[in-house]
Symmetry: C2
Subunit: 429 residues, 2 copies
Amino acid sequence: MNSGLPFLIAAKLCDIAELQRLALTSSLVDAMGHLIHALQRERGMSNLVLGSQGARCQQALRAQVHDTGLCEQALRQRLSDLDTAASSRGHGARLFSRIAYVLQGLDALPLLRKQVEQLTWTPARATAAYIRLINGLLAVVFEAADSASDPLISRRLVALFNFMQAKEFAGQERATGSALFAAGQAEPVAQQRLLHLIESQERCLQVFQDFTREHGSPSWADSSPASPPAVLERLRRILCTAPAAGPLDTGLSQTWFDACTECIDAMKRTEEQLCAGLRTLCKERIATATADLVAHQQLLERAADLAAPFDEAASFFGAEASVVGVDQHAAPVIGQGYGPQVERSILELVQDQARRLQAVSDELETVRASLNERRLIERAKGLLMAHRSLREDEAHKTLRQMAMNQNRRIVDVAEALLAMAEVLPERSR
Amino acid sequence: MNSGLPFLIAAKLCDIAELQRLALTSSLVDAMGHLIHALQRERGMSNLVLGSQGARCQQALRAQVHDTGLCEQALRQRLSDLDTAASSRGHGARLFSRIAYVLQGLDALPLLRKQVEQLTWTPARATAAYIRLINGLLAVVFEAADSASDPLISRRLVALFNFMQAKEFAGQERATGSALFAAGQAEPVAQQRLLHLIESQERCLQVFQDFTREHGSPSWADSSPASPPAVLERLRRILCTAPAAGPLDTGLSQTWFDACTECIDAMKRTEEQLCAGLRTLCKERIATATADLVAHQQLLERAADLAAPFDEAASFFGAEASVVGVDQHAAPVIGQGYGPQVERSILELVQDQARRLQAVSDELETVRASLNERRLIERAKGLLMAHRSLREDEAHKTLRQMAMNQNRRIVDVAEALLAMAEVLPERSR
């Protein structure tokens, strides 16, 4: 009798179902990336239209709105592929909830566009609206990374999320710098914001590289992004070091925009490579798991004819069977009184699987720790922004300053801050 | 247009599917509890049979083996209810892998019984074999608690697991004490083990009570177990304080066995109440989630007729739409330019759901922290046992001593130990 084997097969089926879910999620992330890129371009052009009071870029914006529409359609198509069968799977509730949020935003997009067309919103307000929508899309990618239960894929998704987030910061940098050059005058709040965006970009790229380096595959390591070109670094310096209300050369506006765009487009190409790599990885992992499944099923067929119960008992209970903790599966004793190979290998398979799943779970915990840190820091920043009416860059600076003063990590300060907020009465929060 | 709403409904369907999975898992835990109780009795009787070289208890053991068989059948029935449809859900792989392991053990049970019947194994070896099997069953309960994604249910499962584990320690205490009284002579290793079992029991009951207290419901708090009766405490004192090789009154053997059994049976009744409470909770949670779902679906039907896009845009983007972190969903702005109630409430629903899911995720993290600590400690103990050939109680004492010397928590010492083992070369582990 081998009652355990069918459950070993069920466990393998779970793995495969999860991998297939991840393949679907990955293709979703791919479509999100395209839409985000289109929205980033649309945001830039909307800014130019609003900044010039409709004198510039109207035509190009209309063409871009059309392109964005195609990306949106493609994404909505992918979303409808997430059929209700998937609804019973894994951490779906949170992913679906994020999707629901972002779809509310996409539904509202035509209205945002109308405000731009009628020149009724300021560039700042339109930019903020686009940022909110893009953040909603990025939140789906974050959730996809957080809910992935395969460490290899989770690692790639975390890297990809950080890369996409870096690219979004680059987009915001382009917009902020464009506004500064267009105004022809340095302005400390915008300069501060610019510095914050550059720093945030670098932080995300650092995480991206950390997650890339640990993985060995060459096609994966090749996709590390190049450093920003010298021309961009020079323009950054000009923007950030100009004295308050000092003059800025409006003629550099286009140079800045083009240099940023070149950089962002290069990032988009890298992002596409990352997505393609992720798709390949999903396929490979599904193939491996399927091969394992077939092997298990063949074993089950062979095992049905066999019965070597004594040897099995000996190997399950072991010669020196000892008290084991909840998490220890003692290794079977090899030696005399040893039964047919097939019997032994089933118990070993079961034990190998248990060990493998434990290793997977440990590895996932490591990968998710970085996401959790990010979540804590973002929430603490949000708390500071709401509570003390700070801008994002100020909130970040405050956190960093607190961490320096207390000689602690930013994430620890964030955690302490959130814990403190929890015990404060609701009214004073 | 309300493209978000269907995904809100999908998220709710995920919740319901997960709750139904938990209801199934809970009924599995219930059946596990019955089988564990039967195996504990069988273990006690097997000990008496082996200890008396077949002179005692043969008849009673045969009856008990029959009863255990019924419990095993009931459990196997429950397991076959975990149909393959469930295989695509949640953390199934780990649960199924644990089940596969325990089924290997159940398959081997007839052989263990043959060893007892033929008096070929020592009482110690038979006891160790039963312990391994029961630990395998408890590991399934642990996994069920760890993979539950509803905090209320997870909390109950953690409490229940600790209670069942305490009961198992009580069972081992009964066996160890019985052997001591039967031998008529105190023996330091067994006395040490006894102390360890008492301490472990109390630790588990403490965790159980911590998880009970935090929850408010009276039926849940009522089920706290009574302290052991005075007679048991007196016998414990006699057993633990007798000098090495000092005499023990063999006449107290039956008194000890009965006092322990009474205690364990009372624990079994409490366990059944806990299981019944868990079943009720699952039903209630499913009913609430289903009511939410119906409300969402009604909203979707109503929303299909409506289109108030401007107001939606205003509420999605907000009057003072700001840069928000990945995890902040800004509250909609209430005030002028405000649309029909239904539109607003959908966005609010989406945001409420996101907040609720975040709260759920935070709460789950807290509940699982206790399981994770346990896992780390068990693994560190296993490492010490394997590496330095210690018994479980010695390994535990070593860990505790290290923690005291370093003025750190046991779990921190365990974590450091495991991290150290990871960097050691494979050969020396």
